[in-house]
């Protein structure tokens, strides 16, 4: 009875990555390296140690994270603001929503040439690109989160004299929060994608630049380190959001468990 089934455990999610790692190790031993196709695990490890020691790794992670967060902050705040505005006000919605939907249909990476021409390859370009990309998920989810709040609760609040600031603080915002966090999660996913592209094309630093630079010199180990780094950073940021969801929206888990 005390033998817990492995399929029920959280660890089961790590099964495939571990198998992939093992296959990679076996392949490394069998091919004895030197193929130029894929570096072996020890090669990647020593590459990792090399850039860790000379400080470029930490430096690049720092700059990439900083860029990502800066763009996310702008895009997220504007998305949140407009989502709340259009979610609450019919007038604002009629005025703005159509335009926002039109812009949404332009792939954000397609805006890159225009932004490059306008702002060059400086920091603004990357911030703007990330802001545009991260704006939409937060905007859309905030908007629908607010629209989907139970009208009966709003009616109750009105009858009990909860209005203006209190209505937003205690009813509308908490009601929309789970949806806003879903938007944040999607935005962070996009943030990393845009960051890579932006840094590979228009940058002299960051993880994207590190990978592009490594490609120029055929440093396969560094390329793989960079890719693994993206996977890890993505997982970490996902984990942060899940933690936030559990902390801020505990009531929602209760509701789900009940239904």
């Amino acid at each position: 009875m005390n033998k817990k089934k492995i399929s029920d455990s959280h660890l089961v999610g790590w099964l495939l990555p571990v198998i992939a790692l093992l296959l990679w190790a076996v392949w490394g031993v069998c091919s004895s390296g030197n193929t130029g196709f894929l570096p072996t695990i020890p090669e990647v490890w020593s590459g990792f140690l090399r850039i860790l020691k000379d400080g470029t790794l930490v430096e690049n992670i720092k700059i990439s994270t900083y860029r990502g967060m800066k763009g996310l902050l702008f895009g997220g705040l504007i998305g949140l603001g407009l989502g709340v505005l259009n979610g609450i006000s019919q007038k604002a919605d009629r005025l703005l929503n159509n335009t926002i939907q039109m812009i949404r249909n332009v792939p954000y990476l397609a805006m890159m040439p225009l932004i490059l021409v306008w702002f060059g390859i400086g920091e603004e370009t990357k911030t703007i690109l990330i802001a545009i990309g991260t704006f939409f998920p937060i905007y859309l989810n905030t908007y629908s989160g607010i629209r989907m709040i139970d009208g009966k609760l709003i009616e109750m609040a009105r009858n009990y004299g909860i209005k203006n600031k209190d209505l937003y603080l205690h009813v509308i915002f908490p009601g929309a929060l789970p949806s806003i966090l879903v938007g944040l999660k999607q935005s962070i996913g996009r943030m990393w994608v845009i960051l890579i592209v932006a840094e590979e094309i228009a940058s002299k630093s960051g993880i994207g630049y590190m990978i592009t630079n490594a490609r120029e010199f055929m440093l396969m180990d560094i390329i793989v380190v960079g890719l693994l780094l993206y996977a890890i950073l993505g997982s970490v940021s996902d984990g942060v959001i899940i933690w936030l969801e559990k902390r801020l929206c505990r009531w929602e888990y209760l509701a789900e468990r009940r239904s």
Binding site: D166, P174, L177, W251, L254
Partner: protein
């Protein structure tokens, strides 16, 4: 706590599009009175209740809330809905504190004590049963310092035993607080059990206004059955209203 407000409803009419829901409704409710409004579904009884607060606006006529001789705002008129309508993202005591004048935990716990749920102060609303939720909702209504309490079939979704418990609780709280209470229900027995007066609404107008002259707390005896039958027959459109003199009742 001061006594309840009076309500004066005069010539009220309400239409939804072309459909007339209420017309020529007149009703005088005294301070501290417990009135039950009964009627078939769709007769307009819930609409009348919503008109008394500002959840709906009447097309003509007036509804005045009176504090003694003075007309007053409708802020003291609080609604208890059929669903508990608790904010699921706030713990039980915070749901109550949000609407109480001093917003304190003590006041919330006191209100919970009145409905017998003081041990649920830190529970999430979703973990409560339907009856418990409705009791929290009642505690919330009471701690918002109401002068008039409007109950829109608040017990409709509860099981029979919980209903009886809630009816007893509502009567107790009404007697302690001296509020004016208007209860909309389709359950004639519930109306006779709780109310001083039972008003029947049919096709948008008041067609019966019966004073229930039974003592309190009420027993479900033959006198009780007399009133229940009388009103029920009227609701169902049956002629056989039993003739019995009111003097026996008291």
């Amino acid at each position: 706590m001061s006594g309840g407000y009076a309500i004066q409803i005069q010539n009220v009419e309400k239409k939804f599009g072309e459909h007339v829901v209420l017309q020529n409704v007149n009703l005088d409710i005294k301070p501290g009175e417990f009135i039950a409004i009964v009627g078939k579904s769709g007769c307009g009884k819930s609409t009348l209740l919503r008109l008394i607060t500002d959840l709906e606006e009447s097309d003509s006529g007036s509804i005045r809330v009176m504090d003694g001789e003075r007309e007053t705002k409708k802020e003291g008129v609080k609604f208890l809905f059929q669903e508990a309508r608790l904010l699921p993202w706030k713990k039980v005591w915070k749901n109550i504190a949000l609407v109480s004048p001093d917003q304190s935990r003590e006041a919330a716990v006191k209100a919970l004590h009145a409905v017998g749920l003081e041990d649920k102060a830190d529970a999430w609303p979703e973990t409560l049963s339907g009856g418990q939720k409705q009791r929290v909702s009642l505690a919330r209504a009471l701690s918002s310092d109401p002068k008039v309490l409007l109950l829109d079939e608040p017990l409709g979704a509860l099981d029979a035993l919980t209903r009886i418990e809630m009816q007893i609780l509502i009567e107790e709280l009404w007697r302690e607080n001296g509020l004016t209470v208007i209860l909309v229900t389709h359950d004639v027995g519930e109306a006779v059990y709780l109310a001083d007066r039972v008003v029947l609404i049919e096709e948008g107008g008041i067609t019966m206004d019966e004073r229930i002259t039974l003592g309190r707390p009420r027993e479900r005896d033959s006198d009780f059955a007399y009133f229940e039958d009388r009103i029920l027959n009227r609701v169902l459109g049956r002629d056989s209203v039993p003739e019995k003199k009111i003097e026996f009742m008291i």
